[in-house]
Amino acid sequence: MSEASLERAHHEVLPAATPAQIDNAKFAMWLYLASEVVIFAILIAVYIVFRYNNPDVVHDIHEEVGIILVSINTFLLLASSWAMVMGLQQIQRGNQQGLIQWIGITAVLGTVFVALQYVEYNELGHLGLSLSTEFGMRFYAPTAFHGVHVIIGVLWALRVILRARKGYYTAQNYLGVEIFGLYWHFVDVVWILLFTVIYLV
């Protein structure tokens, strides 16, 4: 009845000792990711249907564009995901400085990813792949939507860093980092699938 009993719900606390009791915020994040799965799936499905019905068109575009830039981008995002879990591991060991450094790397890699995607879009624009072409619209919609998610993720990473600098996270209280990690890894998983489905296949 005091303020505290209400507050417990949205302040981060450690999950209870029994694994059956799952944490509110983490559960909510997973549910949110579940709905994100559906939105991304529609955008990707629209592309897949096109790819399935027009393999030649897609093949020609792949030949023309090449995959060097996007491969670099993929490695960047994979590395950012790795940096993310390394940061989580650091704070679980109680190393706040390590957390800040690793999440910082995550944010930098995410930023470079978005920048390279911008470069890539420019190149594609020069090749005449605009939003109004058959391939273009189906390509830009999922990748740009993913890019927006990366930008949001970078901003969130900066917030985590700010809070970490204030000493908010400790070896016992790292749920905020973990939940950001869930989001970031989800964005990474989406890219893993997008990369293969859109750029390679």
């Binding site: 694994p19 059956a20 799952i22 983490k26 559960f27 997973w30 549910l31 990711l33 579940a34 709905s35 799965v37 559906v38 799936a41 529609i42 990707i44 499905a45 897949i48 249907v49 399935y52 019905n53 995959i67 491969s71 993929t74 490695f75 994979l78 590395a79 995901s81 790795w82 993310m84 879990v85 390394m86 591991q89 679980q92 060991r93 973990e178 990690g181 869930l182 890894h185 989800f186 990474d188 998983v189 893993i192 699938l193 990369f195 293969t196 489905v197 750029y199 390679l200 296949v201």
Partner: protein
């Protein structure tokens, strides 16, 4: 329900008698009147029969199956490793792969990162070389393996509550079905 106890008809603190509100006569406890017409009797019989059917082995089996599912979702963490084991592994720089202890900074996380990188390289090589019958299934398979690795290890699904697995698999199932439908159904109908 071990702690079940009879409710007090008198208030526990003051010891006063509690009486029902005037608008609700005390006959409330009576459940069902005796049937009078044939129709009423038939309905009562039908209701009785369906209530008895609850005790039948089929319904009981169904009931316990539902309870089992519910408990599985609710109680059992049920990961491949227990939470403690997994977090011990995630905390340490040493991880054991195929019987050999490997020590790198980051432990299991770094090993997974290595696997992800190699898998991506293999995918790119597959894409650049002349395509065979198996190229596309292989690439898709590798992508799925990578995604599963990230979800299991980086998102801790292997040690977290099973509820999260269900939360993730439901939309995946729904969207896979709808995507398949969109692919197989002719684009313009007929």
């Amino acid at each position: 329900m071990a702690d079940e106890q009879k409710p007090p008809l008198t208030d526990q603190k003051t010891g006063e008698k509690v009486s029902p509100t005037p608008s609700y006569p005390p006959g409330e406890a009576e459940r069902m009147p005796e049937p009078e017409t044939g129709l009423e009797e038939a309905v009562v019989n039908a209701l009785d029969a369906s209530e008895q059917a609850v005790a039948s082995p089929v319904v009981q089996a169904f009931d316990s199956a539902v309870s089992a599912v519910q408990e599985a979702v609710d109680q059992i963490p049920g990961p491949a490793k227990t939470h403690a084991e997994a977090s011990a592994e995630e905390h340490s720089d040493t991880t054991i792969i195929m019987g050999r202890a490997i020590t790198v900074p980051g432990g299991i996380y770094t090993v997974v990162f290595g696997v992800l990188g190699v898998a991506t390289l293999v995918e790119i090589i597959l894409a650049e070389f002349p395509r065979g019958l198996l190229t596309i299934p292989l690439m898709l398979g590798l992508a799925v393996v990578k995604a599963v690795l990230v979800v299991m290890y980086y998102m801790h699904l292997r040690s977290d509550s099973r509820v999260f697995t269900v939360v993730l698999l439901l939309p995946v199932a729904v969207t896979l079905l709808s995507t398949l439908y969109l692919i197989t159904v002719p684009v313009t109908g007929y």
